[in-house]
Amino acid sequence: MSSKKDRRPTKRPISRRTFLEGTGAVLVAAPVLQGQSPAGSPGVSADVSHRTIRLTVNGLARSIEVEDRWTLVEALRDHMRLTGTKIGCDRGECGACTVLVDGKPMYSCSQLAVWMDGRSIQTVEGLEKSGKLDSLQQAFIEHDAPQCGFCTSGQLMSAKAALTKNPRASRDQLRAAMTGNLCRCSNYHRYIEAASAAAGTPTVTPGAAFYDGNGTPVAKLKTVGRTTTRIDAKQRVTGKATYSGDIQLPGMLYARALRSPHPHARIKSIDTSKAIALPGVKAVITHENGKAVWGAGSIAGGRQYNEEVKKITTQKRYAFNNPVRCVGEPVAAVAAVNRHVAEEALALIKVDYEVLPFVMDPEEALKPGAVKIWPEGNLSPDVRNELKPITEKRGNVEEGFRASERIFEDRYTTAFEHNAQMEPRVSLAHWEGDKLTVYTPTGGIANCRNDMARDLGIPMANVRVVCQYMGGNFGNKNQNQDADLIAAMLAKQAGAPVKLELSRKEDFLGMHGRWPTTQYYKVGVSGSGELRALQLRGYSGMGPYRKNSGAIGGVELYHCEHVEARVHPVYTNKTTSGNFRGPEFPQGFYGIQSMMDDVAYKLKTDPVEFVRKNMVRDGGEASYTNYTLEECIRRGTEVFEWTKRWRKDPGSDAGPIKRGAGVAFVAFRAAVGRSSAICKVDAKGHYAVHVGVTDVGTGAKTTMGLIAAEALGVPLSQVDVVWGDTSSCPYSVGESGSRTTIMTGHAVVEAAQGLKKQIAEKGMPKGSDVWTSSVDANPTIPGGKVRNSFGAHFVEVEADTETGRVRISKYVAVHDSGRIMNPLTAVSQIRGGVIMGIGMALHEELRYDYRNGQPLTPGYYGQRVATHMDVPEIDVIFIENDDGYGPFGAKSIGEASKLPAVAAVANAIFNATGRRMKDLPIRKSRVLDALA
């Protein structure tokens, strides 16, 4: 090696690895973040090198003219209209574009179309034979393999190839064969279960167990609670589900956004003249001519940007801002006849920036003399526009500390992690006169519609929002996004429909992720280990806008007389933070439950005992509609065999592989609230339920169908679910906060009851009559009772003390989510949440270079989302209840499943190694450093 030092290369091209993982200096310096492939307009451009190729696609011989620069996925999606193959990353990381070339799975985004000359391609559309599903597709449906469905085509093709090669492939072989296919819903178990079933070698996986809570049997129902495959599963496994990016409208233009390369800069001038002059360019907008306040982008005090808030807030976020306050903020956008022209035009826009100093860390940002991102300073104002931290107080914390026999203090930090849903952001806007239709990935069509009308200053009646399928959500996709405003403004200017697409990197930098936090705890306990006082001082890095609250959850988990939490949401020049699956909880639960676990060990107490002694209890801080925390912990302790797996003396295994166990618990809102539904019946006895859900992957369409069928007393097959279009669906709360089943589901029950009443009064409709029952429900719980879901997670890890690697060797997740509407999808939700939690604990972070404010890991590989190979077996246990609220007693699931996972893993690492891991993610090197 050293002898060759004199031969330093003059030129170092960047490698696939380097840019895939996002470490490349060249990437960092790239001034323009551009959009994803493929070229849109049908047919080749005469002035671009092209040729005719002959190939077989799904068994059909075809001859097609292709530009030499086209990728295979571009040819398939745009020119053969086979949109079942998806683009998730467009750079060979995620596997959503996987197709079979001569029987072998390959990334179609990284193949040139010209290579396909003489070859045979199979896409998801080619799996079905003469209208009959492939047995693999059938297995995917039966085993609930697709959640959001965006990665499903790729998973299917990889599994298909593996099973063709070896029809009896083992579980491990299937995992290895499918590991190039990421699934952010983290439904990896289901994919492997489905593929194993198709192989005829299904292995028994630790599945789900259901117990009746509090000893009272939950009365069985006819439809609800029965294992039911998704009503749209067939669309999801055949490539027929139409996601927003799959839609093409006649005369549609393609848009790209130019984004800031600087973390903080004032735009002195923008020269768009050359871009406008480029033939094929139809619209160009910047902060000068594209002025729209994006209300949902900067919610004052973490509260929605309604008319009241609008009046007092001084910090407005526009679709285009000047100054720009983080790398990736949109600076200009172009609509053109095809994507190639749009990208060429971006390169012709000249922006003169005055580069400003920047600040990346929230605590630094609050110091005197720190760079001010807003004139008022960097503490984000609250909903009354006052510069105050989020404060929660109970009792007198100082008194509590005085009454404590022992006091403990510590600091924990958590990282920014991006939602990283599989479907990259896209928005298609179409004006017909003064009426706007937006096709966009949103879990809240009703809210998005409201937001578009508000931000564009047009009546809500003039806005229609459509989202039939969505490739994952995971938080704050319940409003409109700036992409929607930009697409709408471009479409208005161009007088044609405009589709704006974001690349994976733009999605990472231009959307949002979980806010990073720094948490300082002070805990006082009595001699017998009871909490006396609990204090949190926290800092949340919001990026330059307040897209969501920035709170840090967790102090409410404990029974304690004296509590004080002061959390500072702080502006920084990082990417904007926002909601991500349990917005403020996984990071707060990690901090506080690590802290409490540590206190337990210092008091020489079993952590489970410490939890039992100090956790929130019924009739303490609140009274609950039902309370099962004790039971969740008892049941979990038993099934997990806590006493066997837990090491009384942490780190005491001989090594190098050391085992240990950890516990964490959850109590999470399951409140009732406002939503709407419409139920109809016609003379043929066909029922329809109209609900404003998209079904972001949770199974909401199916759940709504089950609830309607149950409430109507008819089989599910007699009920059509109408979803995803504001022109046919009423208001819905939107798919966030784990509320859809509870709130929209309850509205469905009321609407169904109304319809039944009409039928009882008038009989069934005749001829062309249709009975309609429309309900805007807003139930409440009397007596001030709190409605929560509960749960506890138990984890065993193996820590390799030579390398720092942590492997999960046992996982038990116990949940009370009320009555389970559909065991099939409920189990998928829990496992997905757990895997995301493990990823947050061990891997995930959007990292920055603090010297230049540049993001280092904006992509799947960079953030290190979980793969097929990362997934442990997960036992799921439901403690079922019906507390009389929600539809048939349903409570929240989606977020609750992730919340305790991070802390449970961290606590298990402590038990295994004897080292308290105080910073997320718990990378291998951090474990090793702690052991050194």
Binding site: K4, R7, P38, H340, R864
Partner: protein, 282 residues
């Protein structure tokens, strides 16, 4: 995003390809690195020569005690070839550890070797196997050793207009193992160790250790090899030898692993690879 426009030629003979490369064109094999680089405009070749249609580049055969593998043999072909699996298992094992199925189906041995990514897997095995790499240019063939071929990160002895034609590895009967610490999502080696061990009469008669991912270029850990040779190959001997693997190396440092962590991993994984190889040695 899209590649810039380029001219594309898919010759069917090696001579044609070499002629085009001589004219300044860029060779394209599996494209697993080049195509995404072109889409991100990190590479913008004006002329691409697709080697994929050249039959005389795609082969795996045995000739006089060695395996000859054509440049466009895919990782999958190397991994699954009965010939490679039985006669040079270290190379098959290494190929199977690359990326994921989609990458292995398209990526090629010649492409990976020519690209010389410091975290690529093959170079570790090629160093340990003392492989030879045959290069073809306008002036004909020349053969270099793996130790000579890899110069630095993304830098090899390939001249302008020259391409990798084939890789020659010995038929190998030693105990072998390839052990890597993958960047878990991409599969690239943060550190990869290829080990070969021969034993006779209870002594280690030959040890070869190829290292990738640790420094800018792959290398053979000769000090560690020497320390092991002549010993009984006990756990203590292995540990002593492994401790030398990163000594004096200018280890890479990036967001995935610091230099010190890489060095530490190299020592641990050399130990593990040697133990596995020793277990397989006669």
């Amino acid at each position: 995003m899209f590649p810039q426009t380029f001219d594309y030629t898919a010759p069917t003979t090696l001579d044609e390809a070499v002629k085009l490369l001589g004219g300044g064109a860029k060779a394209l094999a599996g494209g697993m690195s080049l195509i995404p680089m072109m889409k991100l405009r990190l590479a913008s070749p004006e002329h691409l020569v697709d080697l994929g249609r050249i039959k005389e580049l795609n082969y795996i055969r045995e000739e006089s005690g060695a395996l000859h593998i054509g440049a466009t043999a895919t990782h999958y072909a190397v991994e699954s070839s009965p010939l490679v699996r039985t006669k040079c298992p270290l190379l098959a094992e290494t190929a199977a550890a690359i990326g994921d199925v989609q990458v292995r189906n398209m990526g090629t041995l010649g492409g990976a070797v020519a690209h010389a990514d410091p975290s690529a897997d093959y170079p570790a095995a090629l160093q340990a196997l003392e492989a030879k790499i045959v290069l073809r240019g306008a002036g004909g063939d020349r053969t270099v050793s793996a130790a000579e071929f890899f110069v630095d990160a993304f830098t090899t002895v390939l001249n302008e207009g020259e391409m990798v034609r084939e890789v020659i590895v010995p038929v190998d009967t030693s105990g072998v193992s390839y052990q890597k610490v993958p960047q878990p999502a991409s599969g690239f080696a943060m550190v990869g160790i290829a080990a070969r061990v021969k034993k006779a009469g209870g002594k280690v008669t030959e040890a070869r250790i190829g290292v990738t991912g640790l420094t800018n270029s792959s290398f053979r850990a000769t000090a560690a090899e020497k320390a092991l040779e002549g010993t009984n190959g006990s756990a203590a001997d292995i540990q002593k030898a492994a401790a030398l693997v990163a000594q004096g190396s200018d280890a890479n440092s990036d967001i995935h692993a610091s230099a010190d962590y890489r060095k530490h991993l190299a020592v641990v994984y050399t130990g593990r690879a040697l133990i596995a190889a020793m277990g397989r040695a006669q």
